[in-house]
Amino acid sequence: LATTSIKHNTLAVACVVRYKRKYVTQILYAPL
């Protein structure tokens, strides 16, 4: 899991997932 510091009450988390033969960095922004 990758995270960024919380700014403006918003948290961003991410992880790199393999989808078939390609690599997707899924980034989710969520409010605290």
Partner: protein, 315 residues
Amino acid sequence: SPEQIRRDQRIGLEAIREFLQSKTSFDVLPVSYRVIVFETSLLVKRALNILLQNSIVSAPLWNSKTSRFAGLLTSNDFINVIQYYSQNPDQFQFIDNLTLNGLRDVEKAVGTTTSLETVSIHPFKPLYDACVKMIQSSARRIPLIDEDEDTHREIVVSVLTEYRILKFVSMNCKETKILLQPLHELNIGTMTNISAAKLETPVMEVIDLMIQKSISSVPIVDDQDKLINVYEAVDVLTLIKGGLYTDLTLSVGEALLKRSDDFEGVYTCTLNDSLFAISETIRKARVHRLFIVDDEGKLLGVLTLSDILKYILFS
């Protein structure tokens, strides 16, 4: 000879259609890429800043309560919010606290045709099918949705845009080289009833025009009808950045001063240009539409990526 050029055009179109049938949406995706997704409980103004920060204009939404994909956030949503504010200027607090969940209600309140349930397609379906779905829903982008093999929950694999598809064709389909017929022979694009504005036109009038005519750009012309600029739907993101709605009183010329300096400019072409020349331009630059002008630069019409995709698939 013109006859040879017409014959080549047909051969080229057939070849590109076969190419689109033979590839999947998955093939268009880079080996490594990112997908930025917003939880639907995020504030609209926060989502706007994150889009601008990442130089993107749209993002898929994720409803963590239902653990399902909840459609796409696009510039249309911000246009709806602006329209809602111009109709309800006393509702600033409501708008300031608006979350992405609330955008459907705003859409209903302003009465825009509720965007059809966001169309989507499986990544391994033919690319041709994704194009057909986009054209049918007049969407300019289509989410690629698969499901998790264990939990059967939806996965937003990516979002394909018309631009990315046409760029993929221009880079991988050598037959674009024989699409040499001039535009004036193709009956393509919009050449009549073009809604244009002047630099002094209030930006709200231009936004209303986009809503009424369901268009994503309004050309700006001078008194001699020469094209001097274009106001695009994505420009509204810079207009309300930081949750400020004070700039809605600007003229469109003033509003365009807020465009970021790395804007690549408006692309023009003439009726003598071919789809080969246009395809080459798409391959090298981020073109989202071309304005057709005459020798003196007077506005004649507009050619959108949807027009090009429609022509390639169905002409």
